[in-house]
Symmetry: C2
Subunit: 437 residues, 2 copies
């Protein structure tokens, strides 16, 4: 039942890991010296450093700068094999993972780290007009729409139509929305100087829509207010308590008001991977798997879930947040619990350590909170800390050096290095434009 | 009849340039201070440094490293506008270019620099199984197939099938074929060390098929022989005098013999852009426009053709070769002839200066010929000269620095920085695999 590719040594338990984001990668690494064989499955060949994805979406970095082949990262673990394939479903009773191409793969322990996609809160029709940002495919689609909007504006004889092409709306005031909107005005105003003859990129209008009362709701009131003010200083039109009621290719409807905008991005809701449903176990409202304190799934020994796919309750009753450090900690903890189980010991409860929160808001601005909010600061110091931490955690020496170079270039020149529209990318947009009323 | 975007100042002749490869870019730059308004049309937003495209195709460089936005390159020319659009056809009698989205655009002078695509010599069915390398889209498709082949091999239980996935055939022994095949063995043998558990990338087989008697036919016999020997030393199986008679998803047919290979690339024939046909002027066998000595088209004052789309006869009766330096020289010359015509002077005949030929053959190997073949050399010196010249001609400071960094990384570690298979790229291949018998 196990295809040729799995490293299966007799007597060694087989640990399968689904997904190689932060949760999956840290789980795999923690199993390096364990007496198990490991198979990592991902539908791409790379581990993606998601915190910098918005910089690919805005043409600052190239995809390869924030992605490393999973095989390369795990090459020094002879007990680990990597499969590029998609998981169709999991059968936890028979302990089998069903892969699209390789077929069934049996396991002794399964760590599911399949992550999240966007949630449009039941309005799935909005996705075509307002794509979200989770994968490299997403980032390249957002980059394409971002860059092409200026090309379309340049070709508009009509002033209102031109302004609609120069208007960018981001729905959702979390870190993704704040980072995307914070970076856009500078790119348009300074990074494209002198390049256009009919439209002026400096006429860009960037709107951030947040349904709740403040941006960055995971931060303190003070940091939220600071981020809000920073965004406005950058020229972003921030609207809180604003519920979107419609999105199409011509703009966004907010109650009675219609905002003419040809380019809309989605940074609002998360929904756990559809894979969770195939497990046949209890899920929460957002589709996440309700796990035990030790990250295992009730009633299924040997099945653990980590990262954005897991609903992990803390002692204070709150869920562990869906952030990269939490996924890393959970991945590592799940692996350790597997090692404990393999050697006949009891799995132990996971405890989340909040090392702090950081969000960047354009050039030289950021907010930081440490020690559960006891230490809060913003401005240039927070921004430099953000730069330092992101370079530190980025996998691979090459990527660190290249990203530092790209940042230095963008900092000094304001220009962006990855402004590419390929021929195959320029064409589909024609239909997008025609779709609009 | 002229859309809003064109820079049209009364009294100034309007020069339209189709295509912004080497020919179009050098023509546009040479018109910077001329008393004309210029409109550059390209179906992508970037000028592509084609000589390094094979390094994108083999995951060494990122697309953004060898591409620069055309607007950025021409931003300091206030008389020049850039349009991202596709030319449907040209009406040289009415002096109108018809664009897919922007509609008709009238001109006083037209410089056509639309370049070439591949020619399959009437076997257009081969294209799906053996893509060529002209654009970034092409390079990313070749990269996808190159990287996925190793993933497929890793998942093969059958040894013969595994070897078919590890066999790469390139058809055509010109510079593209020599560069592609020369770089592949090293990437597989050294750049993927330790990453696979079932397949061994070191079992790679790379085959170069050339219909004529020698590789690099544009070079001297001596340099051809040297390149041939260098390729064999790198482990490439070079077969000259070998005519391909069939290609499909399972391999290549050569006379009676069938070569099982899941991955085939095409570097053989060029065919001029189909746009040439719309001009309604005499073309040569390869679809190129037969131009006058001054690069204008017989019977159409104000219509000039440069680069790979032009058949330019030299004094010795031979055609100017389809290489980057020739396109640059022709583009610049066509612009100067337009300036002459605008000021009432006679256009002057173009004369090609062969500054030398260079081709690289993997790590530390290359062949060089200067002074019409009077000076020939190869080896590490030629390779270093190749590196230097390519960095020199690469547009943009940023790109030069990043490419140097990527090369240093690849040289020291043997690893490649851009080994990315996105989720959308991993899926279509399933159907490719199933297509095979």
């Amino acid at each position: 039942m196990t295809p040729a590719l799995a490293v299966t040594k007799r007597g060694r338990p087989h640990v399968v890991i689904i997904g190689c984001g932060f949760g999956g990668l840290y789980a795999a690494r923690a199993l390096r010296s364990a007496p198990v064989t490991v198979t990592v499955i991902d539908r791409t060949n790379h581990h993606l450093f998601q915190p910098l994805l918005y910089q690919v979406a805005t043409a600052t970095l190239s995809p390869a700068d924030i992605a490393q082949p999973i095989r390369f990262l795990l090459r020094k673990q002879p007990n680990t094999a990597v499969i590029l394939d998609e998981v169709e479903r999991v059968d936890p009773d028979r302990r089998v993972v069903h892969l699209t191409e390789a077929g069934p793969l049996s396991y002794d322990y399964l760590i599911v780290a399949a992550g999240a996609r966007h949630s449009y809160f039941g309005n799935d029709g909005w996705e075509a007009a307002a794509p979200g940002l989770k994968t490299l495919d997403d980032a390249l689609e957002i980059r394409r729409r971002f860059l092409i909007a200026f090309e379309k504006a340049e070709q508009c004889a009509d002033a209102a139509e031109r302004q609609a092409w120069l208007t960018f709306v981001v729905v959702g005031g979390g870190p993704t929305g704040v980072e995307l909107t914070g970076i856009m005005p500078g790119i348009a105003r300074l990074g494209m100087r002198g390049e256009f003859r009919n439209a002026d990129p400096a006429d860009i209008r960037v709107v951030l829509l947040e349904a709740g009362p403040r941006v960055l709701p995971a931060f303190s009131d003070r940091s939220s207010a600071r981020a809000h003010a920073d965004l406005e200083a950058l020229g972003v039109d921030v609207k809180v308590n604003t519920m979107v009621t419609g999105i199409d290719a011509s703009g966004v409807r907010v109650g009675e008001e219609f905002l003419a905008a040809r380019t809309v991005f989605w940074g609002a809701g998360n929904a756990a991977s559809p894979l969770a449903r195939s497990l046949g176990v209890p899920l929460d409202k957002a589709g996440r798997v309700r796990v035990n304190a030790d990250l295992s799934v009730p009633g299924h020994a040997g099945l653990l879930v980590v990262g954005d796919l897991a609903a992990v309750e803390q002692k204070n009753g709150e869920l562990v947040p869906g952030v990269a450090p939490a996924a890393m900690q959970e991945g590592r903890w799940a692996a350790r619990n597997v090692i404990r189980a393999v050697s006949g010991r009891q799995m132990r409860p996971f405890r989340y350590t909040n090392k702090g929160d950081l969000a960047t808001i354009g050039r030289e601005r950021a907010v930081a909170e440490f020690g559960n909010g006891r230490l809060k600061f913003g401005g240039r110091l927070a921004w430099m800390l953000w730069l330092f931490i992101h370079i530190m955690y980025l996998a691979g020496f090459r990527n660190r050096v290249i990203v530092l170079m790209e940042w230095a270039y963008a900092y000094v020149t304001y220009r962006r290095g990855a402004r590419i529209i390929r021929s195959s990318e320029a064409r589909p947009h024609a239909s997008l434009a025609r779709e609009a009323p």
